[in-house]
């Protein structure tokens, strides 16, 4: 087969397609969006499977699980924090088990390039006690995705693949193989999927019984690699995922590199780890993300006679993304000779709202309406409009997780904060804003919710949205917000004064009001024109 140029995300997606994928679901989030972007394009061309942008990650997870229960191979993908949203079905699906092969793709963001935290999805693999993969390059991403469906069916469990930003958003060539046919539909079900305590206890027992076999699967995986240096028993390296590349880069010129174990599967391949640790005195653990392997290796008491190094005990920083330079230093190698930095003070160039962005006009109007009001009171949410936190707007005061703006404004209002204002985008509102607004409407909470309806999921590249246009207004009304306090504005400079007055009026109303700012994203407009 020819070599194809693929992003890491796309390599996973194509591996899934070639494994006989029947259905894929996701909610957009950097760095995972390109998994489903690719599948949507492919599905559009081949009609061979379903690929859907779901309303949120929990929904996506359940949709994929349903397809698996029906015997088909399915995939769900999201960014690491998306797995928090889907954690309820995720944890329980380890108990029910999967029927058709079920691959969960969770893309972590060490260094927080586009995220609120750098949580490490490997803890979820351990938490749910299911098999996991961590590819180090594009070929592995493709090969592991293919294999993961077989492993999922072998154990009758979901399998999680952990990606990191650097692999998700790196391109390289991948050799592909012939596609496998999709599974037949399997109808009917036993008691396994009904998690009444009587069944859940039995199923949890089965999951625990499988653990030893899962460790053997990991020990025997062709993706793990143990290489011992017989001449040097002082020092060895355990490297997982993309950190393995930085290690090999640093020792590429060595005639005999230090002993190393490449870890690519979970649960940890215990036998291989014992062999490496038995062979050397000092072990350096290289992993992008949290010190997941290092912590398990050391336990509470450490290993007698051995030194374990990594993020917990130097020489690697405990936070941020690994780089080839950091790993080189940790291995005690001199940095490469380089040109000096320019010495000029280089002005930073942070991201910002695009020229002509409707959010800019919404924030100008909101700022004007709140002029003279002091205190932290604009709860915001996740999307392009989070950039409203930066100058020149400085318009928002919180960004926690999807949908939190509405629930947090309600909580603040309940304890006496006035005005309590929430700012949320249309896609985020559909994702997690409906339930808190339902709750606030029931209580007629004294707060003002501003929904920025730009008719797309903009930050992640313009995926479809579920709560936009007239449908959004009907949704808001249906949730119980009084019709006279559902106001629409068009965020344009020419309407500034009028928009300021509407926002002021609704803030002055001592009950729940919703102001919907309707204007399409300029990036999406541009795409349609070209």
């Amino acid at each position: 087969m020819p070599r194809q140029i693929l992003l890491g995300d796309e390599a996973v997606a194509l591996g899934a397609v070639h494994a006989g994928l029947s259905a894929a679901y996701s909610y957009p989030g950097t760095p995972a969006s390109e998994v489903l972007e690719y599948l949507v394009r492919q599905a559009g061309e081949t009609k061979a499977f379903t690929a859907v942008w779901s309303v949120n990650e929990k929904t996506a997870y359940e949709e994929a699980l349903g397809a698996s229960f029906a015997g088909k191979r399915s995939l769900v993908s999201f960014k690491h924090v998306g797995l928090n949203v889907a954690a309820d079905p995720f944890m329980n699906s380890a108990i029910t088990g999967a029927n058709g092969g079920f691959l969960v793709v969770s893309a972590d963001d060490p260094g927080m390039h586009s995220s609120q935290n750098e949580q490490d999805s490997r803890y979820y693999v351990q938490f749910a006690q299911i098999p996991g993969y961590e590819p180090s390059d594009h070929q592995e991403a493709y090969d592991m995705a293919r294999e993961a469906f077989d492993v999922s069916e072998r154990f009758g469990l979901p399998v999680l693949m952990r990606l990191v930003t650097r692999l998700s958003h790196s391109r390289s060539a991948v050799e592909t193989r012939d596609a496998r046919a999709p599974n037949e539909l399997k109808k009917g079900a036993g008691q396994d999927w009904i998690l009444l305590p009587v069944n859940a206890r039995r199923r949890f027992g089965r999951l625990l019984d499988l653990q030893a076999e899962m460790t053997r699967f990991s020990e025997e995986s062709r993706f793990n690699l143990l290489q011992l240096n017989d001449k040097d028993r002082s020092f060895g390296v355990i490297a997982s995922g993309i950190a393995y590349n930085y290690f090999r880069e640093a020792v590429a010129a060595d005639s005999a590199p230090p002993s190393f174990l490449k870890v690519s599967t979970y649960p940890l391949p215990e036998r291989l780890i014992r062999e490496l640790v038995g062979h050397v005195g000092t072990i350096l653990v290289l992993e992008d993300g949290y010190p997941f392997i290092e912590r398990q290796l050391k336990g509470l008491f450490g290993i007698a006679g051995k030194t374990v190094l990594g993020k917990m005990s130097g020489p690697l920083p405990a936070s941020g993304e690994l780089t080839p330079d950091i790993v080189r230093r940790a291995l005690g190698r001199e940095p490469l000779a380089s040109l000096p930095a320019s010495g000029l003070p280089l002005a930073g160039r942070p991201p910002q709202l695009c020229a002509g962005c409707p959010h800019a006009d919404s924030f100008k109007a909101l700022n004007k309406a709140l002029e003279g009001v002091t205190g932290s009171n604009v709860f915001s949410d996740i999307g392009c409009y989070t950039l409203g936190a930066l100058p020149p707007y400085n318009a928002i005061h919180s960004c926690v997780c999807m949908g939190a703006s509405i629930s947090m404004a309600r909580g603040a209002s309940d304890v006496g904060l006035y005005p309590a204002v929430s700012v949320i985008g249309d896609s985020t509102f559909a994702h997690s804003g409906l339930t808190p607004l339902l709750s606030a409407a029931k209580a007629n909470t004294d707060m003002t919710v501003i929904i920025l309806d730009n008719a797309t999921t903009a930050m992640t590249g313009g995926q479809p949205t579920y709560g936009s246009g007239p449908g959004l207004l009907r949704l808001v009304e249906g949730l119980g917000v009084a019709k006279e306090h559902i106001r629409t504005i068009e965020p344009l400079p020419k309407h500034h004064d009028k928009n300021v007055q509407i926002i002021k009026d609704e803030i002055a109303h001592r009950g729940l009001s919703v102001v919907v700012a309707v204007r399409e994203c300029v990036q999406e407009q541009r795409k349609k024109r070209s």
């Binding site: 650097r166 790196s170 391109r171 930085y246 080839p324 002005a347 930050m459 590249g461």
Partner: protein, 192 residues
């Protein structure tokens, strides 16, 4: 044979199109490559960079270590400066002289260009005017690719072939403007 390039610019300037052309040319030339890029939040008018690695042997890291880059190729002069310490001591800077001023504290452009000229090897081209001459100011990224082309380990025919494949679908005027942009960039670099 290997070549490591830092591609730099501002979100929206077409860095990823340069990377696309280099990726496909590398594939056509039978080279290995890895190319790490930036998506998401930073793409909204922020500083973006892509690590582009080409080799006839195994490439391990997706990222280039500091001191490992053979070239900084930038569509914007301030962004070129940001990555000087990635260059090996005799590395080359190929950059546009056209500033992209979307920040209040943009330094004096003469000082920026002066700092770039302190690098042992530098090629500075007026991408804005060359792109206009080619027919569209949007083709500044391809002007820069043309300027870098003589220093790349890729075959010129592979680069030009990929540009044709990339722009063919957007109509003859766009295709021709980009081919001309490439040629003008190449000529400007050789004359500088």
């Amino acid at each position: 044979m290997k070549q490591d390039i830092i591609l730099a610019g501002v979100g929206g300037q077409g860095i990823l199109s340069i990377a696309y052309v280099i990726d496909h040319a590398a594939l056509a030339d039978g080279l290995f490559f890895k190319q790490a890029e930036v998506h998401g939040m930073a793409q909204r008018g922020g500083a973006v960079q892509s690590h582009m690695r080409l080799s006839d042997g195994t490439i391990w890291s997706d990222l280039i270590p500091k001191g490992g880059a053979d070239m900084v190729l930038s569509v914007e002069p301030l962004e070129a400066l940001r990555y000087l310490d990635y260059l090996r001591p005799d590395g080359i800077v190929v950059t546009s002289s056209t500033p992209f001023r979307n920040i209040p504290d943009y330094p004096e452009v003469d000082k920026v260009l002066e700092a770039i000229r302190k690098a042992p090897r530098s090629v500075i081209v007026d991408s804005e005017n060359l792109a206009k001459e080619a027919g569209t100011v949007k083709a500044q990224n391809i002007v820069l690719l043309g300027a870098a082309s003589s220093f790349l380990i890729l075959k010129e025919a592979s680069l030009v072939g990929t540009i044709e494949a990339l722009f063919r679908g957007r109509g003859t005027p766009v295709l021709e403007a980009n081919l001309k942009a490439f040629a003008l960039g190449q000529k400007a670099a050789l004359g500088s």
